[in-house]
């Protein structure tokens, strides 16, 4: 029996949205994809989850924007870029994933995935450093990482002193540098970004 012809179509607007993002290299081989599957065979997420970079590229090229943005699959990527290393056509699903996640957020689907990491932005603005999200308080990770680790973290100021380093972990920038960084980040709209997180937290709490 002959299968019905496919009705899937290329979505010019969606491709433009992806390819015009500054993070996408100008010579990306997205349209050159031959569906060989090298990306999926190298992908750690494909070993344990339903995510397949080959399938994602197929879905992008056949205009299935809504399906992609709603799907859990784009959140399984490890950001390891093995797909980029292995692709024989110069395509880079790993970078496209980050743009798709942003689009998913704009479409209202991806917020829950990023809300836990709001503190990263606050730390960046106020200290110039990106503290590991969720690793404080130490107690929250003691079960998983062990009592030894918790002890190391509590003793860190002492250890840093022994190493002859700044005793404020991970390190402390001079006040002038912190002020300059804060000013630069505010001009780059970091407060507006943080505000988006706060609004979304409130909205989710209300529901």
């Amino acid at each position: 029996m002959i299968k019905k012809p496919t009705t899937l179509r290329y979505d010019r607007q969606f491709l433009k949205e992806l390819l015009s993002d500054v993070r996408v290299p100008e010579d990306i081989g997205l349209k050159k994809c031959i569906q060989c599957g090298n990306c999926s065979s190298a992908c750690p997420a494909a070993r344990y989850t339903p995510y397949r970079p080959r399938k994602l590229i197929h879905d992008i090229l056949t205009g299935q924007k809504d399906k992609i943005l709603k799907s859990e699959d784009i959140w399984y990527c490890f950001s390891c870029f093995s797909c980029n290393l292995r692709c024989p056509r110069g395509n880079n699903p790993g970078i496209l994933i980050h743009i798709l996640r942003d689009l998913a957020r704009m479409a209202g689907y991806g917020w829950k995935k990023v809300l836990p990491f709001k503190n990263y932005l606050v730390s960046l603005r106020d200290t110039g450093l990106g503290l590991t999200p969720l690793s404080t308080p130490i107690e929250a990770f003691e079960d998983e990482l062990g009592a030894d680790w918790a002890q190391i973290r509590r003793n860190l100021p002492e250890i840093l002193k022994m190493l002859g380093m700044s005793s404020v972990p991970p390190r402390e920038l001079p006040q002038e540098a912190r002020d300059q960084i804060k000013k630069i980040l505010e001009l780059a709209n970091i407060n507006e970004e943080i505000e988006k997180f706060t609004k979304m937290e409130e909205k989710i709490e209300e529901n």
Binding site: P44, A45, F117, G128, T132, I152, I159, P170, I181, L187
Partner: protein, 308 residues
Amino acid sequence: MNKKIPHNGFYLFKSCLIGLEYPGAENSTRFVFDKLGIDYYDDPRQSCCTGMGMNLDVVTPLITSVLAARNFTLANQANHPYFATICSTCYGVNKEACEWTNKDPKLFTQVKNILSRAGLDVKRDYLNAEHVFHAAEVFYQWKDAIKDHVVIDFGGIRIATHHGCHFYKIFPEYVVGDPEDVQVLDDLVRVIGAESISWYSEKNYCCGSGFRHRWISRDLSRAAAYDKLISVKREGAEILINMCPMCAFQFDRYDALLEKLFATKLGIIHLNIAQLLALSMGADPYKVVGVQTHSVKVEPLLKKLKII
């Protein structure tokens, strides 16, 4: 590729996560640079590269670009234009910021205007992807000189390496040698007289951190870490050398948990390349190399090498 790596003029690009978890790796980098007489600038004003935030999808390209431009401006104004990062993600992110601002004049103008309002004058040629190096590449460039400083005999110690995905998979074209079988760390392992495992089945596999997975999809993160480490274990490696604190955290901090979850014995010692080189050059394991912050105890190795 046959890459041109300078010998001097480095801006030591410190990592937030190294400072928090493995400060000895940062300190060992200074120790090795000092020992070799490498000219570098250790700038307390340097900020985060935003790598963690980028991969957690919470920072915009503009935020990453303005901070990269600020760091590059500080480095260039101090006449130390070459970044020597100690984290594979810092390496990848700084290169990316250069590529973005170079190809998009509108983004560069926006960045330039923002920086000028904070009193900084960024020039277009400051943001040069070819000026971003990993400290491991600097060591590699100096490997003949390293040989002369080795005082500890690592003969017979079997060592595997993990280069960190963001060092060779984002920009394979910038990698010394074959990006599908990177030997930068392995060559350094051989230089100090240890036995390099060179290739193992999961050499190109991710550490499993996956950034968000570490915190949110923990089962996924641990499964990948186990696949990686068991393949290292099968080769009989005593040490796995890393050059990225995310990978180090994943391997070292989760060792006990992975042993329990998968009912297996791991116990591989995890060292940053700078820590390995510093130890081989006679650095104090506690005051310089900072082995006291490791979860898998390094002492059995130190005893075997007669360091303690």
